[in-house]
Amino acid sequence: MIFSYSLKTAVTGLKTNRSRSLLTILGIVIGIAAIILIMSLGQGAQQLILNQVQGMGSKTIIVIPGREPKGPSDAAQVFSDSLKVRDFELLQKKENVPTLGSIMPLLFTGVSSSYGSETYRPTIFGVSPLIQKIFDLSVSEGEFFSDDDVRARADVVVIGSKVKEQLFGDSPALGEKIKIKDRSFRVIGIMPSKGQVSFFNFDEAVIVPYTTAQQYVLGIKYFHRFVAEASSQDLIAQTVTDIKATLRESHKITDPSKDDFFVQTQEDLAARLGLITQVLTLFLAAVAAISLVVGGIGIMNIMLVSVTERTREIGLRKSIGATDRDILMQFLLEAVLLTGTGGVAGIVIGGTLSIICAFILTNFVGLAWSFQFPFFGAFLGIVVSGVIGLVFGIYPAKQAARKSPMEALRYE
């Protein structure tokens, strides 16, 4: 039998029972729509997280003291004092890391700060002026401290908008002195509210020169992090290699497995977070896929009823020359057509719901959400719904093909 006519026969068969066909595919429609929605939201969330991470600059490289944690119970804090001033000086030398764009030490701690009777516990960052570039920070009032302030261990601070609000309220803060660990620091700059930037909330931060932080706030000679930038995107790997080599030489380490530091790039972080959201999305999609199995069983059920109902038609077709294979193909095609239509409808509905969700998240929740159409999910949806038609249609179709023409014609 010619395929186009098989198709026509199947379409006619489905049209004859229009409302039943619609109800039958409902399970598939809902299943595919749910998968599309979940995948779209998953991709949107992933994009959102990646954008956050990249708020720090995609060329950023972070050197962390201690061993790289291999599991949750692993003590990452051994050798936590391994990043020394000498290391910082060595890394800055062009002959050691030629592809380095810039490097800045970073210290952080939570210490109570006060102004008059007001106290607040901000995160104190000890950094160099480079932080403005790396985290894209700026001041709305006053100015940032300079490299001279770093060299002089100046008692100056730049405060975030929340700190300003907590300590000063509406009164002016610029030029005032706040107390941290019984030492007075002059406020020279105030940053505008920026919200979360790559896991740091600079609104709640007090930023001081790293030398000042080492000497007067923490009283330590080492650093918590080095934050570096490669001179270009393609040179990240080379830069990481050179940084590692320089630090190993400085720390007299020959066996890389005994490293007392580790290096993270923004790329690593993005990849890791991307993987987490991806796994989560797949898990949710798998849960939604259960509904497809349920939908498939529904299809099989209705197809069996349909085969019984159409016993006479099957008998007639056989008596005028249809082979078992023709009948099998006809009913299988009906099942696949049914689920395929359900799949397409599910993709359209799921896509529409995703657009609505994206609209709500952008306009009412205030996320920088972008609608993502899961093309892979859509492709998968069509394939999966087709396969469901095949799998759950084969049994009823075989039942139909097995009917003897005489029995079939006798059926009342």
Binding site: M1, Y5, T16, R317, S319, I320, G321, P405
Partner: protein
Amino acid sequence: MSLIEVKNVTKIYTNEGVETPALRGVSFGVKKGEFVAIMGPSGSGKSTLLHILGFLDEHTDGEYLFEGKNVKSYKPEEVSKIRNGRMGFIFQAFNLLPRTTVLENVKLPLLYSDVPTEQWDGLAKKALESVGMLHRLEHEPAQLSGGEKQRVAIARALVLEPSVIFADEPTGNLDSKSGKMVIQTIQNLNEQHGHTIILITHETSTAEHAQRIIRVMDGAIESDTKVAQQRRADEGYVK
């Protein structure tokens, strides 16, 4: 050579271990161009005989030669092919596909044949012309009278120019006027177009339109006689 040759054919139905004989050794032959009526009361085995002759059922024992070849030697695909091209069926209940036009219904056997698609419409229209139903091409079965439905069914049986047409109580669901028209159509196919026809009926008046009547009783042939004076459908057919 006979088109159909049956030698001592038996059929035993087995249902839950109980054997019910439906045919107990039937022998006869049908020549090409013959118009044979098989008669008998219900339960006599005439329908079973038709099913076996029409490849819809298999006989238990004996020999059935169709066009000189033993039926048992055919493969399932060959059986389908013969049903498709060499045999035409007309049923008491018409068995037209609902919500499908007259033309599409008649084209149905072509779907399962090797005939090229371009010829389908022409063949279907030709078959419909020979039963006088050319004016109803785009109607659906629900819009037709019983007699018209049966004539469409006859056209469907004819469309591939089969060697033999089996008609199973074709007038059973029809009023006398429609029945008369249908039997006239069948008689016309035999006389004008030379089609071989095997007609099953329990009415003598219908059977007498054939050239020969085989009477079946309790699974055996009771008599096999030539009709002395073949009844003309156009001269007062009475149901």
